[in-house]
Structure formats: structure tokens, C-alpha cells
């Protein structure tokens, strides 16, 4: 047995143990800690699967931002009584057997997957020079399957509108309030020191994404986390949702993407195509604006609906 395999087996056992524990533990708050730890382990597994771009996203989004969101919710719900009865033993057994069957069936399919596996890697590599990019994943995201990325940026907007729509009518146009903790010296210090690092890292990830692992979503997620930290510590206030500049920031990424995509019909013969030779600068432009918009959207998703009545 090689050492690398030992690492993989160790990781597998650990991740399964944490997952079981997250589901089994009684207290919700503790369960969320389990989930954050689980996300960290997943990032390690993504590294082992030679997918650093995904590992970055998992670290930033899957474990980081999702963990924050769930931690905040669990903290607020600690006094909530759950009045729905837990399912009976029979249902548990039925569900358990069903899920075990699903797992077993899927496991059989995993073992039955064709070998050698079908892959698009050669096609991606063959066309990458046309995009001027060095990172094949960014090539897929911003060139070959740009529509998915455009829609993914757009998807954040209805989700955010959905969150905002949960405000009370009188609070519409007001600001969300993330600061639900008492002011604390240590937290304030953290919120003063960490964000400069984080902002550099976020911009670096976005900029680096064209050629190295990274990109708009990873960079945006880090920026969003730093913004949320500042808001949590009470060093700044979230802007009122009615602000015009905020709305512009939110849609800027998708709008720029859409405009460049539409320009492609005229200048490159297809929607979302880039004119030859201009692919890389256009992609970088899109990524930069997208990073900003994504950071704002993610930050506001964490901040929740407006709760302050506008003055």
C-alpha cells in the first residue's frame, strides 16, 4: 500500500465519520460545526482529485460561506422548539433501507462506469489556445460553457430577491443587519486585521484565474466573507437595499457578460463568442466585474433580508 493511498483511505474514513456524526448528533449547533469540518475535509479530497479550482470553491463557498450561514441560523434558532414529531421507528427503517439501496445501486454503477472513461479533456486542451487562457477550467467556464456561468451569476439575483422579499413591508428599502452579537474587542481586532489580507487574496484569485486555479467565484466568495466579517463586527453598516449604486453593483457582472455576449453576435458570429484575438482581455474584463458583483450578491445573501426600517 502506497502512502498516497493511505492518505486517501484516512481522508475517506474521516469524511464519512464526520458526515455520520453531523447527521446523528442531537444538537443542531454542534451539527453545524461538524459540517464546517466536513467542508474542510472535502477541500482536501478535491485536492487529492487533482481539482484545485473546485477545492478553492469548496473552501470558500461550500465550507466557508455555507458554514457561516448555517452557524448564524443555528445560533438564532437555539431557542426554537420543533413541534413536528420525529418520524417513527418504522419510517426510519424504511428510509434507512431505501437509502442503503440507493447507495448500493449507485456503488454498482460507479464500479460499472466504462474504462477508459469518456472525457472531454482533449477537446478542451485542443481549443484552449483560441481563448488565450492557461487554466482549462476557466476556459470551460468562460468560453465553452459561458452560458452556464452567465446563468449562474444571474441565478444569484432571484435568490437574493427571494431573501429580500422576506422582509417586513415597512422595512423595505432599509438595510439588512448582520451584527447580532455584542461588540467585542477581539472580534473588532480580527475584523480590522483580516480583511486587508482577504481582499488581496480575493483579487489575487480573480486575477490569477485566467491561467492558474482561481476565478471570479472563488475571489468573489473570499471578498464576500471579508465584507460579512466587517459587518458582523459592526465596523460598517450594510447598505440599504434601495440604494441605486448597490443595485448597479449587483447587476454589473451579468450585464457586462450579457453585453459582451451579445456583441459576439455581431463581431464573432455567435452569442457568447469572443472575436479572435480579443478573447483573453474580454474574459478578464468579465471576470473582474463578475467578481465584484458576486462578492456583493453573496455578502447580501449572508446578510439576509432588510430588517431596519428606512429613516
Amino acid at each position: 500500500m502506497t502512502l498516497a493511498l493511505a492518505v486517501d483511505i484516512g481522508l475517506t474514513l474521516l469524511v464519512l465519520a464526520v458526515a455520520c456524526w453531523t447527521l446523528a448528533v442531537r444538537d443542531t449547533f454542534t451539527s453545524v460545526i461538524g459540517f464546517v469540518a466536513y467542508g474542510l475535509l472535502l477541500a482536501l479530497i478535491w485536492v487529492r482529485l487533482a481539482a484545485p479550482d473546485v477545492a478553492l470553491t469548496e473552501a470558500a463557498m461550500g465550507s466557508g460561506l455555507t458554514g457561516l450561514l448555517l452557524l448564524g441560523a443555528a445560533a438564532r434558532l437555539q431557542n426554537a422548539k420543533n413541534i413536528s414529531a420525529p418520524p417513527g421507528l418504522a419510517l426510519r427503517w424504511v428510509a434507512g433501507v431505501l437509502c442503503a439501496l440507493v447507495s448500493a445501486g449507485l456503488a454498482a454503477m460507479v464500479l460499472l462506469l466504462p474504462d477508459p472513461a469518456p472525457t472531454l479533456a482533449p477537446a478542451v486542451v485542443a481549443h484552449l489556445p483560441a481563448t488565450g487562457l492557461g487554466n482549462p477550467v476557466t476556459g470551460v467556464l468562460l468560453a465553452y460553457r459561458a452560458i452556464d456561468t452567465l446563468l449562474e451569476a444571474v441565478v444569484l439575483l432571484p435568490a437574493l430577491l427571494g431573501v429580500w422579499s422576506l422582509a417586513a413591508d415597512r422595512d423595505w428599502g432599509g438595510a439588512p443587519r448582520l451584527r447580532y452579537h455584542r461588540p467585542d474587542g477581539a472580534l473588532t481586532l480580527l475584523a480590522q486585521v483580516l480583511p486587508p489580507f482577504g481582499i488581496i487574496v480575493g483579487i489575487y484569485l480573480c486575477w490569477n484565474g485566467a491561467d492558474q486555479p482561481g476565478g471570479a467565484f472563488q475571489g468573489g466568495a473570499v471578498l464576500a466573507a471579508m465584507w460579512a466579517l466587517i459587518l458582523t463586527a459592526g465596523l460598517a453598516e450594510a447598505p440599504p437595499v434601495s440604494r441605486r449604486w448597490l443595485r448597479w453593483l449587483l447587476v454589473a457582472g451579468s450585464a457586462v457578460f450579457l453585453v459582451i455576449g451579445l456583441a459576439g453576435i455581431g463581431f464573432a458570429d455567435a452569442f457568447l463568442a469572443y472575436p479572435a484575438g480579443y478573447a483573453k482581455p474580454l474574459i478578464l474584463t468579465i471576470e473582474l466585474v463578475l467578481t465584484l458583483s458576486i462578492a456583493v450578491a453573496l455578502g447580501l445573501l449572508i446578510a439576509g433580508p432588510p430588517t431596519r426600517t428606512p429613516s
Binding site: D27, T30, D184, A186, L187, L189, V193, L194, F197
Partner: protein
Amino acid sequence: MSIALGLFTIFAVVAGAFFFLAGTVGLLRFPDPLTRLHALTKADNLGLGLVVIGLLPQVAWPLGAIKLIAIWLIVLFAATTVSQLMARAARDGGPPV
């Protein structure tokens, strides 16, 4: 030269790993939250610190080294903040989770 650097890496990483073990044992065996905190903070920061120092010769200079040190500083800083908050929580006898 590279042999010396290699030995340095080996030594530092092994020492770092040892501190992780020490921290874990302290976390498991010490009797109350504050002593456990003591074991934890000393050990895991030193542990990570030694690992980082050990890895310095193995990464690209200078960007890799800067990143390594930044990682250590961030973790160190966060751990300091968190342990202060935790100590306070432990002293106030925060609600058992």
C-alpha cells in the same frame, strides 16, 4: 546544500507533527477547559508554525513562501482571537452545547 535543507525540512515537519500530537493529547487528557485551551493554543500554533517553516525550502520563492507565511500568520491571529473569546466563554460558563 539541498541535503541540509532537506534535513531541515524533515526535522521541522516532524517536530510540527509532534506538537499536533501533544496538542491533541492535551485536549483529551487535561481536566478543565482552560488547561485544555492552554495545551491547544500552544501546540497547534507551534505545530503549524513548524510545518510552515519546514516547508519553506520546498516551495517556489518568493510567492510560495509569502503565501505560507501569510497562512501561518492568519491562523495564528485567528487562533489568538478565538482563544480569548473561548477563555471568556469558559470563564462565564457559557451554555453547554
